[in-house]
Amino acid sequence: MRALPTAGALRQVTGGAAVRVSTGILLVITIAALVGPSLSSHDYFSMNLGERLEPPTLNDTRFFGTDDLGRDLFVRTMSGTRITLLVAIVASFVSLVLGVAYGAVAGYAGGKVDAFMMRIVDALYALPFIFLVILLMVAFERNFLLIFVAIGAINWLDMARIVRGQTLSLKEREFVAAARLIGVPPVVIVFRHIVPNLLGVVVVYITLTIPQAILVESFLSFLGLGIQEPRTSLGALVNGGISHMEGAPWVLLIPATLLAVILMSFNFLGDGLRDAVDPRLKAR
């Protein structure tokens, strides 16, 4: 019988090397993004056309060089990382709240209510959200807030499905039957008995949906529909760097590498947590 991850058991889980290393890397990057810009004498928006496309150097704290408009790449990269991480976390949080609430209700209610709610999820799933997001972005003139909502709206479906699946199986377990026998009201059952036992799965999936959120945001920036100038994100920086690939490769490579490292860390973290939470895969 699979041991379900619990709030208590999670505290005990330190995870393997993958979890620790990934968490470490992400912490370092986050701190660098928050603190880094203060180490430099530049800001993220000042243009200096006399210093375009300078390679990285230690003079003048131009650690990452400059971009095609003479703006300091180090500060822009750090500031872009902040935005990328912010978007990812907020969007994932949105999808978490939506997904868990929807999935737990559908799963516990069961029967026709569940079938109807999942029918809606199926329909939304089929809609090519990317296309709709693009449409909305175009139509609403690239609203900053809209990005968070749109990205969150794409990811909650997966979370809802997984939470519903888990809820359905949890619902059949004896401890839920025991709670019903005592007379615990259904709302309390869902929140005191079922949701805490979902946390493990939810945490794992959040760390795996964050990369998806980042990729969506990067894609939007690539299309010119994401974060607007002079603010920037890693995706926008990558987009900008593509046109200078031949002459000034660092303009592309630095943000692209950082982006890849962040994505990989989240993926490794998610994998590591999933292994820790599902020990069957390791023990045998």
Binding site: V138, S218, F219, L259
Partner: protein
């Protein structure tokens, strides 16, 4: 099995309907009309134009009109390309996207499954870590980074392959777009196959097969392979959807005149019937393909096929 199949088919229909409704509402919720970009028209002409396209009617009537057209296969006229209907435009663009998508999917399956099985069988050895590492990179690097890089290396740098679509008429021009599009899927499928194979190999019935003195090859070939691949079959549904989404990027980078390009242009042109048409077409495609995958899965799992 028949019951299962009928149930799935029947349940796809309301889903499709719901999709059309949602897409219709979203498209009409977007502010701005399809003719905003044109020169400013005298009000009378504007009204006539609107009447001709039935934009003056109430929303439910417009929807009914649209839905009845749909059933007949008529997706309406394009606002921007006045001489063409949406169906025509989609019909012109779709085959290319289809070829691209199918090729990529096929490549991804063949490469991904093989890599995943090998990695699983050589678990924790160097080959495994290498494969897993590459796969991890594959899902961590966005397609719009990989695609230009590929162009840079293979087209501009080495000059082995054509850099853009229209510059070449040979089949070779498919290569880079297909590679770029299939890479993330290869990565996912490798990881999925590996995990699934590892799990299958640790199941009780594989232990029984080992106890029966079967060689590893026999076990994989006769007992483990099919069950291990079932999750991959399930994944095919979402995978196809992802491929078509990723195709948007690839088409833009390589200049392929496919459905994705069509959509972005229509969004920027505020060509709402075309946008709606592409969305509905795409959604229908996804639903049908998902249905096919579900049926395939039901056929492969004996517990569903012969209850």
């Amino acid at each position: 099995m028949l019951r299962f199949a009928l149930l799935r088919i029947l349940s796809a229909i309301p889903t499709l309907f719901l999709v059309v409704v949602l897409a219709f509402l979203m498209v009409h919720a977007a502010p701005g009309g399809p003719f905003d970009d044109e020169r400013v028209l005298p009000p009378e002409n504007a009204r006539n134009l609107e009447a001709a396209y039935h934009l003056d009617e109430s929303l439910p009537r417009q929807f009914a009109r649209y839905a009845s057209g749909l059933v007949r296969g008529d997706l309406g006229p394009s606002y921007h390309y006045r001489d063409h209907s949406v169906s025509e435009l989609i019909g012109a663009a779709f085959p290319l996207s289809l070829q691209l998508g199918l090729l990529s999917m096929a490549v991804a399956l063949v490469v991904g499954v093989s890599a995943g099985v090998i990695a699983a069988l050589r678990r924790n050895t160097i080959s495994d870590r290498l494969i897993t590492g590459i796969a991890m990179t594959g899902i961590s690097v966005p397609v719009f980074v990989v695609a230009p890089l590929l162009v840079l290396v293979f087209a501009v740098g080495l000059r082995w392959l054509p850099a853009s679509w229209s510059g070449d008429a040979s089949g070779w021009r498919f290569l880079l777009p297909v590679v770029a599009l299939s890479l993330p899927q290869i990565a996912y499928i490798t990881r999925l196959t590996r995990a699934s194979m590892i799990e299958t190999l640790s199941s009780d019935f594989v232990r029984t097969a080992t106890a029966q003195g079967l060689s590893l090859f026999s076990i994989v070939r006769f007992h483990a392979l099919k069950p291990a691949l079932l999750p991959v079959v399930s994944y095919l549904g979402p995978a196809i959807a992802a491929v078509f989404t990723g195709a948007v990027v690839v088409e833009i980078v390589f200049g392929v005149p496919g459905l994705g390009q069509l959509f972005v242009r229509s969004a920027l042109n505020r060509d709402y019937t075309l946008v709606l048409g592409v969305v509905v077409f795409y959604a229908a495609l996804v639903i049908v393909l998902n249905l096919a995958v579900d049926l395939l899965y039901g056929f492969l799992d004996p517990r569903i096929r012969n209850p």
